[in-house]
């Protein structure tokens, strides 16, 4: 009953798929986080009214299902003759999707820093940028980290949807094997285990950082 036709080469094939998942996730989370920090600072700095256009734009990315975004954006870039490959297109869409969520995480983090603490910093002569860098950023990061880890893990799993643009990431790689070997349950178990192996260190890293930063709480 434990016999399987899955060979070592098939596992390598899955590993390559996992590599693609990691690449798409890595690029998207990195770019999305940078954008999210930028947008989050803009959101807090300009207030809800002035940042309304930005909020509206980000709300679209938060509320339209990712699959629809991917397909529509891919068609759009084809019509507009951007000439982007599926990897670039996937990363752009996923980055904006990540940025939309990250913006709210960053905003929540910044707003968790008491106004008085920030004023205490400014009253010592720190400039706005120094206050952001030395006081707000470390404190907001602590508050935002658990949500950000959750977002990263979420994006990693959601990145499976890029298979619709023709990228062979982990899930697509498993589907190909399922079709060929006709062992869906076993292969999906292996696929799930690989997802877990990738996620676990990220989750643990989050736990470790939280612990390291908390002796002062």
């Amino acid at each position: 009953m434990f016999e399987t036709a899955l060979t070592f080469n098939d596992l390598l094939f899955l590993a390559k798929g996992a590599g693609m998942t990691l690449a798409v996730t890595g690029v998207s989370v990195a770019a999305g986080t940078v954008l999210g920090i930028l947008f989050g600072v803009v959101r807090t700095q300009f207030g809800p009214i002035w940042s309304m256009p930005l909020t509206f734009f980000l709300d679209i990315f938060r509320s339209v299902p990712l699959l629809i975004q991917l397909v529509l954006f891919n068609s759009f870039q084809a019509i507009a003759k951007f000439g982007w490959g599926p990897f670039t297109t996937s990363c752009v869409v996923l980055s904006l999707y990540t940025a939309a969520y990250c913006t709210e995480i960053v905003r929540g983090g910044i707003e968790s820093v008491p106004t008085i603490t920030r004023r205490a910093g400014r009253s010592l002569g720190l400039s706005w940028a120094q206050d952001m860098r030395y006081i707000v950023a470390p404190l907001a990061t602590r508050v935002s980290l658990p949500a950000w880890i959750g977002l990263t893990l979420g994006v990693m799993k959601d990145s499976a949807l890029v298979l619709w643009l023709g990228l062979t990431e982990l899930l697509k790689a498993s589907q190909i094997l399922v079709t060929r070997l006709q062992e869906p349950l076993f292969i999906l178990m292996v696929c799930g285990a690989i997802y877990f192996l990738i996620s676990f260190p990220i989750a643990r890293l989050g736990g470790y950082l939280e612990k390291r930063w908390s002796p002062n709480d």
């Binding site: 205490a120 009253s123 030395y134 006081i135 002062n216």
Partner: protein, 240 residues
């Protein structure tokens, strides 16, 4: 010298400062008393430019605080302020809290900033808490740390915004002792406070604020013994 001329300030429809005129000379200790909502705390945040003003003028040693050309970050180096609570930077140790601004704003070397920080922390009685995070300090110790942090910038003026109001009663004394120490050393201070006994002891002058107006200003003897303003009389009989 801090000169406050006809300063007006509103939050929305609520006018919290209705034309304040006040001069604080170098070396003077001025305490400001009054009920909550009287505008006394707002005045302090206006003096170091944390809040804009709607009309009037505040000058510190001849520099107009709210002029567009004024570099507030430079000006604030000589105006220390300590708030009621949330002063501490919780992610930094006590020593790092005090060293941050001298390092980043005054561009002091690490050794220089550390020497100054240790000196000021020892001065307020926290010489044994250098490596501790603020959350391990009592409220009174946190306030003293905030005072040391402001002093490390070598300010010419210190503003205290109800620094004992959020403290447990048994911790008030140690913070007031620190303020008394500063006053005895000749620091120019404006203290917004509810501690009448303290105000009476350390002040050169006491100002009473009521509903955005400075209703009376006088020496502590005159103000506490012979209050003229009817609101002040009411206020004093309620607090004594």
């Amino acid at each position: 010298m801090i000169e406050i001329e006809n300063v007006r300030k509103s939050f929305g429809a609520l006018e919290v400062l209705k034309g304040i005129n006040l001069t604080v000379a170098k070396g003077e200790v001025l305490t400001v008393i009054g009920g909550s909502g009287s505008g006394k705390s707002t005045l302090l945040t206006c003096i170091n430019g944390l809040e804009p003003i709607d009309a009037g003028r505040i000058t510190v040693d001849g520099t107009e605080v709210h002029a567009k050309t004024t570099d507030l970050n430079t000006l604030r180096c000589k105006l220390g302020i300590v708030f009621q609570q949330w002063n501490a930077f919780p992610h930094l140790t006590v020593l790092e809290n005090v060293m941050l601004a001298p390092r980043k704003v005054l561009r002091q070397s690490r050794a220089e900033a550390e020497a100054m920080a240790v000196k000021q922390l020892t001065h307020v009685g926290l010489g044994d808490k250098l490596k501790v995070y603020p959350s391990r300090l009592s409220g009174g110790q946190q306030q003293r740390m905030a005072i040391a942090r402001a002093l490390a910038m070598s300010p010419d003026y210190m503003l205290f915004d109800e620094v004992t109001s959020a403290l447990d009663p048994q911790l008030v004394g140690e913070v007031l002792d620190t303020l008394r120490l500063l006053a005895s050393e000749g620091m120019t201070m404006i203290c917004v406070t509810h501690e009448m006994k303290f105000a009476r002891e350390v002040s050169d002058r006491v100002a009473f604020f009521h509903k955005g107006v400075m209703a009376e200003i006088a020496s502590p003897e005159d103000l506490f013994e012979a209050p003229k303003d009817p609101e002040l009389q009411k206020f004093l009989s309620a607090t004594h």
